[in-house]
Symmetry: D2
Subunit: 407 residues, 4 copies
C-alpha cells in the first residue's frame, strides 16, 4: 500500500465513511469460472491454440484454482459434460477440494453429437429427444456426485430456415424435456434455463429470449429459474431492466457474465460497456438491500478466450465483476430514492454516476491485502511463473506440477 | 375479369384445386383500421398536414367506412380516447352502424397530458396513478357504450436515464393499475396489453417486450392477452416465433399491423419485409387449421401515414394483409409437416416459398368481384372522387357529404 | 477544495506527475452548445414544454452564456436558421460578445417547410432544389455577418418507401446542391456534412452513413468535411474507428455530441455508454499528440432535452465531455504503443482502463477553481437562481433581466 | 410444360407482352458459385459433416459443374487459396473446361495461419505483413494461370479489445498492402475489396463498411472496386442504396450473395428477406437500362451450407437469384419514373410490388426448357442420382465417376 493508495483510501473514506461493510460484501461476492474457458476456443474461422491449455478436467480445475488464488473470490468452477467427463467424478470433486475450490454448476452439452444436428429436446425424432433427456439425467447424477446444486441448461436447439421446424410442436417437446429433467432433480437442486437470441440457429432459437425461458420455468416450478447470459440479447436490450423484472418475479437464477459489441461475442466482461455491467450490479445490490427480496443468484463467467491468454483474461474478468459490484455498493440508495420521488432526473443520474466514476481500485487493493492476496492480481499472476510452468509441462506431455501448487 | 385474370385463375386452380374454401376464409378475415391513422401525423421533425383530414370522430368513421367500402374486410374501427371523445358515444356508435361498420377496440391515451410526463400507471405520484386508472375505467365505460369488447392498452411509461426510475417499484405499480382496469371490465371484455422496445422512453420502457406483457397478463387472468405491434421489437426479432409461442400459451390477443426497417417506423404493413408478414400469417393460418387451438385474435392496423395519402395507404395496407393471409392459406400443410418429419429443410422451405411466390392478386380480384366490390381497390378509390370531396369540403369548413355516402 | 479533494489530487499526482499540462489542454477544449437545445423539444408523441424557455435567439444566447459561465468551456453557440432568424444578425453577434461568448456554426434548416415534404436538395422539382440552395446561400451570408467560419449541414432528405425515389438521380442532385453551397463559401469557411442512418426517412436517407458524406466531401474539396453525430449510426457501429479513419483522411470536421441506447435518442452525452465517449476522445487525444496529424475539429453538442431541465442538462453534458477528454489525456501513450507492438492485448486494454477508471472529478474541480469558476457546475447553477429568474420573467412575458446577467 | 404453366405464361404475356427479351437477359445472367461452399462448414459450436463432400479442388469443380448443369447459369467457380491449392493449376483449369465451366475469382486466405492471429496486412510485425503480401502475389499468379481476371479480397483483420490495435497505423498498413497487390496485378485484372461489420474481429474490423473499402479503392485506382457481401452489414442497413451509390461512383465491383436474419449468418440467398434481394436487383437492372452507366459486376454466391445438402442449397440459391433478377426485369421503369416525378409514392411502390408479386416460376421454367435443361432444377437434381453417386464413392475413398459426368 503506497502513498498514492493511502491518499486514495483516505479520499474514499472522506466520501463514503467506514468502508468495512462494503469490503465485507465484496469479499463474499464469489464468481464461478467455467472449466471450458481454460481450453482452446475460437470462431468458425479459426481456433488459435494457446500454450499450456489443460489436457483434462483435472488440469482445468487447477487453472480455476489459480484464478481463485489470485482473486480470492473465484472459489467454484462450472463443468461442461461431456467435455469434462471423467471416470470417477468423486475423484474430481476431491481434487477440487484439495485445490481449495469446489465444483459448481453442471452444464449438459446437447449440441455436439451428430444426432443433435436438427435439435435435441425439440428434435422430431422421439429417440433423440429421449437420448437428450437421458443426458440431462446423467448430468443430474454427476451434480449429485460432486455435490453441486445447480444444473445449468443452454440449448442450441433452433432452425436455420422458415418452415424447417414446427414452432408449437417444438415448444411442447421442450417443455416435456425440461419437465423430465425437473422431475429428476433432488429437492435441493435448481435448474437454470438460459436463452439466446440467435446462433447457432440462424432463423429461430427455441428459447430465444428471457420471456420464453420464464414461461418454461413458470410451468415447471420454483426451482426452475432464468439464467441471463449478457451476450444473448438483441442489440440495445436493457438487460438491467430484465434483471429487476426477474428479481421481482423470483425467477432471477443466475448469470453468465461476458460482454459483446455485436452478437454473442463472448469477450471479457466489462470490456465493451462497463457502465452496463455497473447498472446490472446496481439492480442486484439494490435488491440485496431490500428486505422484501429473497434471491439466490449464481454468478458465473462464460467467455471465449480466443486471443488473450486464458488465465489472465479470467483473472481480469473476475476483477471487472468485483469492481462493478464495488461501485454498485457505493450508490447512495436513500438519496437516489429521494431524487426519484422528486422527479429529479439529473440528481438521480448523478448519484449513479458518482458511484460509477469513483475509482475503486484502491479499495479493491486494500481488501485483497486484507484477504492475504496480492493487491494487483494480473501482475501477481504474471510474476508467479504459473503460465511458464504449464506451458513447459502440459505442451510437452509431461506430468504437470500445478496439481500440487500451493493454494 | 379479363383474359389475363382468367388464365391466372385457371393456373391457380390447376395447382390448388377448388379455390372456394380459401376465398371463403379470406372474406371472413376482417382487419380493423384505427381512427387516428386518418388524421395528420408525422415525425418529431415535422407533421406535414394533408388535405381533407377528418375534423372529428364522425368524419374519421366515414373514412374508415370508405376503406371498408373498397376492401370489403375493414368493417370495424378502433378509437383513441380522448382524441375521439364525443359528447354522446351512442351517437357515434349509431353513426358507425349507418356507415355499415362498427366500433372496435378502445385505446386509452396516457401519454399526452402534462401529468404523464414521467409516467402514468407507473408514476411516483399516487394521484397521477389514480388519475390514469380513472381514465382506463372511463374507456371501459365507453367500450360498454359502443358495445366494444376490447380495451387495448399501450403505455408510453418509461424513463430516459439510468437512475430516473425504480424498475421494481414501477413494475408493481403497473401490475396494480392493470389489475384495477381488469377488475373494472365486464366478463365479456378482453384487455390487450401492448409492449414496445423503446420510444418515447429512451432508456427503459416499463413493458418492453412480449415477456413482460405476458407476465403481467398471466397475473391478471384469462381475459388479459398480449398485443403484438409488428414495429415494437429489436431488429432481427423472429416475430412469427413469438406469435406461435403466444398462441400455444393462449395469450395471443391481437395485432397492430405495420412495418419497419429501423425502429417503430410505422410504415405500411408489408412494405419493407413482406415475407415476414407472410410467415406471421403462416403461423396464424396453421393455428386456425389446428383443432386443438382456441384463439380469438384481433387484427388491427396501426400506422403513421406521414407521406402517403391516408385513405389510399389504408386501403393498400388492408390489401397487403389480405394477400399475406391468402398466401398463407395456400401452404400445403400436410406436405410441410411431412418434410419437417423427414428433416428435409429444402423441401419444407420450398413449400412455404411456393405459396409465397404464388401471385394471389387474381384470386383476390375474383373474390372481390364475388363480394360486389371493385377488383382493384386503390384504382377504384382513386376513381371514386371521395378524396376530392373531402378535400373540398373539410378543408373549407363546409359540411361534408361523406356521411351520407352510399356504403 | 476540501480534504477529500486534496487527498485525491495527491493521489493523481503520485500516479501521473505534474497535472498542469493536462489541465492546460482541458481548459482549451471548448464545446459549442446549440441554440435549439435551449428551446422545447420532444418526441412525436408529445412535446412537454418547460418553464423559462427562451422566447427568441437573444434569450437562447443568454442561456448559452449561462452554461459558459458555469463551465468555462462553452464559449460559442450554434444557430439554426430560420429558428434563430433575427432582423439584424450583427445585433445578435454583438449580443453574444456582450455575453462573453461568440456565434459558432450556422445550421440551415431544410426540413420544416411544406415544400420539403419529399426532399430539399434532392427533390424532384428543380424549383424546390433551387430554393434549398438559396437557403444555404442565405446561411452563408449569415455566417459571414456573425463571423462564423462553419456551415453545418444536415439533410432530412430521404424516402419512406421502396420506389419512392431514384437513388442515383438524388445522389447527383445532392452533389450539385452541395457544390453550389461550397462555391458560395468564402475561402475561410468550412462545410461540415452530417450523415444519419435513418429518421425522418424510414426507408432510405440520402446521406446515410459516413462513407456517403465522405464521398460527397471528397468531390467538393478540402474545406468540406464529415460531421459525426454520435447518435446517427446503426447499433454496434464502432464510432471511434470511423473517427480515426477520418482523421487519417483529413476529413474529420466536427462532432455533434449526444448519446443513444436505441436510435437517434439524443440523450445526454455520456449518459448511456460513457466508455464509448472515452474511446472516441482517446482517438482525438492520440491524434493531437501526433505531429503528423493536422486537424481542425468542431466540438458541438446536439441533444434533445425532453425531460431534464435544459440548462442543467447542457451543463452536465459539457462536463461529461470534459471528463472524457481528461481521461483520454491520462492514457500512457508510450506504454500503450509498446503493448500493441508486443501483441499484449491485456496490457494494452488495462492501460486504457487505467485512464478510464481514474476519477478525474478532483482534477476538473481544481482546474475550475483555477479558472475562477465553481468546482461543481451543476450545484452552482442550481444555487445561482438563474432558472427561477428566467421562469418568472419569460413565462410571464416580462422583460427578462438575464441579458444583463454578469458573465 | 403442363396446362397450368401454359395458362401462367399466357397470363404473363397478357401483362408484359413479348417475354423473349427478358428471357434473353436472364439467360445471360451468370452466378458464380464458390468452391468452399461444397465442402463442410459450420458454426463455432459444431461442424456437421455431410456425406459426399469433395475431397479436393477437382471434385469441388465437379460439384460446381453439377450446379451449372441443372441451372444453366452457374458457369464459373471461385477458388479459395490455399484451400484449393493444387500442384498444377493449369490442370485444374483444364478440368474446369472439360466440365463446361471456368475458374472465376481467386480468393486469398489470410486468416487461418498462426501468423495471422493478430492480423495479416495490418499486423504489427513487418515480416508477417510481407508474408501476407507474398500470398496475395501468389494468388495473382494463380489467377494468371487459370485466366481469371478477378482477385477478391476479404480480410479477417481486426481486433477484439479497445487498445489492442492502433487504428491509424493499421489503416496505413492496409493501404500499403493493397497497393502492393494492386501493383502486382496485370492490367486486365480487377481487385474486389470486401468489407465486414464484424466477426472474427469483435471490437473492430479494419475494413468495416463500404465507405472504408471505397476509400481504399479510390486511393488505388480504377481497377479496385468494392465487393458487397449481403450479410456484412449492420441490421437495417439499406443495401440497395449502397449498391446505387457505388454504381454511380463506378466502384460497384461484385457481390457475395447470401442472406442473414441476425449477423453474418450465410444462409441461402433470398431465404430470409426476398424483397430486399429484389430491391438490390432492381437497382442493378435499372443501371443496366441506363446508357450512361458502365458497370462490370461479378455476381457470386458465398454461403455456409451447414444443414442443407450443399449442392441442393446451391441450386436453390442460384434459382433464387435468377427469380429476383427476373422480377426486377418486369419493373415498368417508365411508369416508375413518372410516379417518382409526380411524387406519387403509392403508385411508385405498387409498380415495384407488381413486378415483385408476379410469379416468375413459369417464365423461368420456360426459359430453362429453351436452354435444354429441366424446368425444375432441384427436382431434377434429386432425380439424377448425383448425390448418391458422390456419397457412395467419395466417402469410401473410391475414385468417383463424377469427373466424367456428362455436362
Amino acid at each position: 500500500m503506497n502513498t498514492s493508495h493511502t491518499n486514495a483510501i483516505a479520499a474514499l473514506e472522506d466520501q463514503f465513511g467506514d468502508l468495512a461493510p462494503i469490503k465485507a460484501r465484496i469479499k463474499q461476492h464469489h464468481i464461478e469460472t467455467p472449466s471450458w474457458a481454460y481450453g482452446n476456443s475460437g470462431t468458425r474461422f479459426k481456433v488459435f491454440p494457446q500454450p499450456g491449455v489443460p489436457r483434462n478436467a483435472f488440469e482445468k480445475l487447477e487453472d480455476a484454482a489459480c484464478v481463485h488464488r489470485f482473486t480470492g473470490v473465484a472459489s467454484s468452477v462450472a463443468l461442461h459434460i461431456p467435455w469434462d467427463k471423467v471416470d470417477d467424478f468423486s475423484k474430481l470433486d476431491a481434487h477440487a477440494k484439495e485445490l481449495g475450490i469446489r465444483i459448481g454448476a453442471i452444464n449438459p452439452n446437447l449440441f455436439q453429437e451428430e444426432d443433435y444436428k436438427l435439435g435435441s429436446l425439440t428434435h422430431e425424432n422421439a429417440r433423440i429427444r429421449a437420448k437428450a433427456i437421458d443426458h440431462l439425467r446423467e448430468c443430474i447424477d454427476i451434480a449429485n456426485t460432486v455435490k453441486s446444486d445447480i444444473i445449468s441448461l443452454w440449448f442450441a436447439d433452433g432452425t436455420n430456415y422458415p418452415g424447417q421446424g414446427d414452432f408449437r410442436r417444438r415448444k411442447r417437446w421442450m417443455q416435456e424435456g425440461l419437465q423430465a429433467c425437473y422431475d429428476a432433480m433432488p429437492a435441493t437442486m435448481r435448474m437454470l434455463v438460459e436463452y439466446k437470441f440467435f446462433e447457432p440457429g440462424f432463423y429461430h432459437t427455441d428459447i430465444a429470449d428471457w420471456g420464453m425461458s420464464y414461461a418454461f420455468c413458470k410451468h415447471l416450478g420454483d426451482r426452475a429459474q432464468v439464467l441471463i447470459d449478457l451476450g444473448h440479447h438483441a442489440l440495445g436490450t436493457n438487460i438491467e431492466h430484465i434483471v429487476a423484472f426477474l428479481i421481482d418475479e423470483g425467477k432471477m437464477g443466475g448469470f453468465h457474465f461476458n460482454n459483446k459489441k455485436y452478437a454473442d461475442d463472448d469477450v471479457s466482461v466489462g470490456s465493451i460497456n462497463p457502465y452496463e455491467l455497473f447498472l446490472i450490479y446496481n439492480e442486484l445490490a439494490a435488491a440485496e438491500d431490500d428486505p422484501a427480496v429473497h434471491m439466490n443468484v449464481a454468478y458465473m463467467i462464460d467467455q471465449s478466450h480466443n486471443l488473450k491468454p486464458k488465465i489472465e483474461e479470467m483473472i481480469q474478468s473476475v476483477v471487472n465483476c468485483q469492481a462493478a459490484y464495488a461501485r454498485a455498493l457505493l450508490v447512495n440508495r436513500g438519496a437516489l430514492r429521494e431524487a426519484q420521488k422528486n422527479g429529479d432526473i439529473v440528481a438521480a443520474e448523478e448519484i449513479l454516476q458518482s458511484a460509477y466514476q469513483t475509482d475503486v481500485r484502491p479499495l479493491l487493493a486494500q481488501l485483497r491485502s486484507e484477504m492475504g492476496i496480492d493487491p494487483d492480481p494480473i501482475a501477481a499472476f504474471r510474476a508467479s511463473g504459473y503460465q511458464n510452468t504449464i506451458n513447459s509441462h502440459r505442451d510437452t506431455n509431461k506430468s504437470c506440477p500445478t496439481a500440487g501448487y500451493p493454494v
